[in-house]
């Protein structure tokens, strides 16, 4: 074994994870190579001293700052804040222009749907009542299990959460979005956040299901 070859096995030799054959070769090389012996002793010392460095605790203010920034971002981009900013806008001409544009848009959309004096009926929902009912049960069973497990163990069971999300199939997700839309709520956040309110009310209703 040469010095160059020994370099590849240096760390494994120090940690004692070489095969018996390689260990024999390494020790034979060390026996005759003073430079590698010296380097080995030096590295043992360096490693030991680095490992004496203690891990510091991350200050609590780091998380506090992060949570404040997350909240600030939420408020900055909420529709309510944008509307309030629009109301406060001093440029009257701009406000009149945007109001006129919005009114024109509403009238244009209404004209598209208005046909010969008759108002067309609403498009039927994509799923039947039975499918909606089945989807509701899927959601409530899956998430009720997760909530119950979390309450009993005190753990946020990430694997179960992931399984719950994957169990909520695309048709079920679409159904939930339709249900939410019918209540007038905007679906702008990830699905799991919007599940809380309808799921909690369902859990209250079907509490004894588990």
């Amino acid at each position: 074994m040469t010095c160059q070859t020994f370099e590849q096995y240096f760390v494994d030799y120090l940690e004692g994870t070489l095969s018996s054959e390689l260990m024999r070769d390494a020790e034979a090389h060390l026996h005759q190579c003073r430079q590698c012996r010296a380097e080995l002793a030096q590295q043992r010392n360096i490693s030991a001293q680095i490992r004496r460095l203690t891990e510091s605790q991350c200050p609590d203010r780091v998380l506090d700052s992060v949570l404040i920034r997350i909240e600030q971002d939420r408020q900055r981009f909420s529709w309510r804040t944008r509307f309030q900013a629009w109301c406060r806008a001093e440029n009257a001409l701009w406000k009149m222009g945007t109001t006129a544009a919005a009114a024109f848009l509403i009238l244009a959309v209404a004209a598209l749907f208005y046909q010969g004096g008759e108002i067309p009926s609403r498009q039927p929902l994509q799923y039947s009542a039975e499918e909606v009912e089945e989807a509701r049960r899927d959601i409530e069973l899956t998430l009720a299990y997760v909530n119950l497990y979390t309450q009993k163990t005190g753990h946020i069971v990430e694997q179960q959460l992931a399984a719950a999300h994957s169990a909520v199939t695309q048709p079920v997700q679409n159904t939930l979005r339709l249900q939410l839309r019918s209540t007038g709520k905007a679906v702008t956040q990830p699905l799991e956040e919007n599940m809380l309110e309808p799921v909690n009310s369902l859990l209250h209703k079907y509490g004894g299901i588990l």
Partner: protein, 175 residues
């Protein structure tokens, strides 16, 4: 639910992030800034990071943010002692002067030495020697073969030893 999961992950991994940043930059203030940045990225990508991959994802992102941060700051002075600036001895032996292999060195000097290493070697030394992460995780984080990680660790230690040999003049410190 998202906030709950986020707080749980932060509690589990915040020290890992902070220490990786601290030893990379040798500055507690910079480590706090970097940790905030990493945690914000975690928040924004929370839905796409799988639970099993969180540790390596965080290690990778922390490393990238550290590198970006240090490049913006241009360089870390070797003369900085880090926050506090206090020298603490781990051990003290008179015979250290005779045998460099037995030399015992101050904690601040070791941190300076680590911060002076090339970025890749620095990250590997921190992850293995200080955070005691397994080689497989380091290899995955750095996107390097396992054997290469071990060779780089060896080189990192070697460079650190050379740095410390050059810096240490008086091995005896009295408190």
């Amino acid at each position: 639910m998202k906030t709950l999961r986020f707080k749980h992950l932060v509690k589990q991994h915040k020290n890992q992030i902070y220490n990786q940043a601290y030893y990379f930059t040798n500055s507690k203030e910079d480590a706090e800034d970097i940790s905030q940045e990493v945690l914000l990225k975690l928040w924004h990508h929370l839905n796409s990071v799988k639970s099993k991959a969180v540790k390596s994802w965080l290690a990778r992102v922390t490393r990238n943010v550290c590198i970006d941060f240090s490049r913006k700051k241009r360089e870390y002075s070797l003369n900085e002692l880090g926050s506090g600036g206090q020298q603490r001895m781990i051990d003290c032996r008179d015979e250290a002067q005779a045998d460099p292999a037995q030399l015992v060195i101050s904690e601040d000097l070791i941190r300076q030495g680590i911060a002076s290493l090339p970025e890749t070697l620095r990250t590997i030394v921190i992850m293995r020697e200080i955070q005691d992460l397994p080689y497989a995780l380091i290899a995955e984080t750095m996107n390097l073969p396992l054997n290469t990680v071990k060779v780089y660790l060896h080189r990192g230690r070697k460079l650190l030893a050379q740095f410390l040999d050059e810096q240490v003049k008086e091995p005896v410190f009295k408190e």
